[in-house]
């Protein structure tokens, strides 16, 4: 019981603390997806990739009116500095959020279900030496986590 209590205390105590990271992102898509009645853009959707991270990471994110107003000047192909906030979630795992791209600050609405990311590393599947398809690992590998630790989810 003592061992178990100690182990549980250790497990709880070992939870990693939130951390902020700085990196670069490449804009792969910029699209206004909602306007107000006057036609002013209200919500912009931005697709970004991480040029400094190994593998394929595509993140889709939306922002509020302030972020949208600021992000209208973005162009596909721009490489911009980005700030990332990483930390534990209420569901027992970890998650990251882009909080700034270039000069544009972003606060994610917790009810925003559209923002998500795809982290994967793909290889060909060969059968008898001939390409038959592809295989994409969806769990971040060590190489990725060493270079881009904000992709850790556990």
């Amino acid at each position: 019981m003592i061992i178990l209590a100690a182990a549980s205390a250790l497990a709880v105590g070992c939870e990693k603390k939130a951390h902020n990271y700085e990196t670069k992102v490449t804009l792969k898509g910029v699209e206004v997806v909602a306007h107000d009645k006057a036609g002013t853009p209200q919500i912009i959707e931005v697709n970004v990739e991480y040029p400094d991270c190994p593998g394929e990471q595509l993140e889709t994110l939306q922002g509020n009116a302030d972020f949208t107003k600021c992000a209208l000047k973005f162009k596909v192909g721009d490489v911009l500095p980005a700030s990332i906030e990483w930390g534990p979630t209420d569901f027992g795992h970890y998650d990251s959020e882009i909080t700034r791209i270039g000069e544009c600050s972003r606060t994610r609405d917790p009810r925003d279900a559209r923002s998500y990311e795809v982290v994967q590393e793909c290889t060909d599947v060969n059968v008898n030496g001939v390409k038959a398809g592809f295989h994409c690992d969806r769990k971040p590998n060590k190489e990725l986590l060493d270079k881009c630790p904000w992709f850790a989810r556990q």
Binding site: I3, T60, Y116, A132, F134
Partner: protein, 390 residues
């Protein structure tokens, strides 16, 4: 020393009763476990296609259809879609109309089709629910897109490892088709590493009548995704995979020599590690720890010592039974089974150390107590480590 012998006799009887009761419960529950295990069969077949897999030859789609594309008919104009139209009855065909031209004799071959259509298959999985590890079944909701530079024949898709409950045709053009399917699919679970198991949920798609002389299914990586927010409750997504294979069925009729393309989407999922540890390993280790506490109880309280160990055997069998009830019958040992075997051996050692008191002279009891107190915990740790890592 006479009083000691009388005490020994009394506690021997009491201890024996407790241990016998525990053993009876353990044997009864163990019998149930064995009965459950004896029902284990080979993994169920994967449906129509997989039942034929014993004689099927899987190969990369590209290799299989290269020869098929050498059909003689020109590619201009609309090629005939009814394969049976040109099939003829000949003497040795056993009543089955066959094609005398082209590579395949099968009535479903189409030697006049011309160049094989490369059909890119994309899939977006919206949702996978109701995953039942007992049956390996799950409900999948997904979009399936078929795109080809050349006109495709009228497609009649079937799912060898499942059955669509709903089919919605969103687009049906000669070079582009988009469907939304909801259906129940089955993949046999692999539980060798349970509770750290990783499962692969598969959706197999096959054209019902058009063989590799007309279409070649090619996985479309750019259009294979999981919908935003996709998750399988209780499981972590570890990979996605899509492959195209060609295979033939065991002869269903004479000259059934046509190969068919099959597309397979595979979703790899694994059980959350923390959940596995706390639901399987922690209870098992607690059972062993409680039984080990008896090692520090001297002979004067031998009934207390026995009660720390023997009832734990019943608890262990009951726990094992509960674990197995959550799984289908399998013909191999899971990691949880191996862990429980370690627990059984540890408890057996524990009980053995108590019985040891009754077969030695009274003067040696203290020595037995000291030896057991040292040896049993050490042996238990070794056993449990082996059980955890094997």
């Amino acid at each position: 020393m006479g009083w000691l012998r009388r005490v020994q006799a009394v506690v021997r009887v009491r201890t024996l009763i407790v241990q016998l009761l525990s053993l009876v419960i353990a044997i009864l529950l163990g019998g149930l476990l064995i009965a459950k295990r004896s029902g284990a069969d080979a993994p169920p077949p994967k449906g129509k296609g997989a039942s034929a897999a014993a004689s099927s030859s899987a190969a990369a789609a590209a290799s299989g259809s290269a020869a098929a594309s050498s059909s003689a008919a020109p590619d201009n104009g609309k090629p005939p879609e009814d394969q049976m139209e040109d099939a003829v009855l000949v003497g040795d065909a056993g009543g089955v109309p066959i094609h005398e031209q082209g590579e395949f004799r099968s009535p479903f071959a189409n030697p006049k089709w011309g160049k094989v259509a490369d059909v890119r298959v994309g899939i977006v999985i919206n949702d996978i629910t109701n995953y039942d590890i007992h049956t390996g079944s799950y409900v999948a909701d997904f979009y399936l897109s078929l795109t080809s530079e050349k006109d495709m024949p009228s497609m009649d898709l079937m799912f060898p490892n499942g059955k669509p409950d709903e089919k919605q045709v969103i687009a049906d053009k000669p070079t582009f088709k988009l469907y939304r399917f909801t259906g129940t699919f089955t993949t046999p679970p692999d539980l060798r590493k349970y509770p750290f198991d990783r499962q692969q949920l598969t959706i197999q798609v096959e054209e019902n009548t058009e063989g590799i002389d007309q279409i070649r299914l090619v996985p479309d990586q750019e259009h294979t995704h999981l919908e935003a927010g996709f998750e399988v409750i209780g499981w972590d997504v570890v990979h996605i995979e899509a492959v195209s294979i060609v295979h033939n069925y065991p002869d269903r009729f004479d000259h059934d020599d046509l190969y068919y393309g099959r597309y397979e989407f595979r979703l790899g999922i694994e059980r959350y590690g923390t959940s596995a540890v706390f639901t399987v390993y922690v209870p098992a280790i607690i059972i062993v720890l409680i039984s080990l506490m008896g090692m520090w109880v001297p002979f004067e309280n031998v009934d207390v010592r026995a009660n720390a160990g023997a009832p734990m055997l019943a608890a262990a069998v009951l726990f094992h039974f509960a674990l197995i009830s959550a799984l289908p019958a399998v013909s191999y040992l899971t990691r949880a089974d191996k862990l429980m075997i370690g627990v059984y051996f540890s408890l057996f050692l524990n009980m053995l150390s108590t019985w040891w008191f009754f077969v030695v002279k009274p003067g040696s009891i203290e020595t037995v107590f000291r030896i057991a107190r040292t040896l049993v915990p050490v042996a238990t740790v070794i056993l449990m480590v082996i059980a955890c890592v094997v």
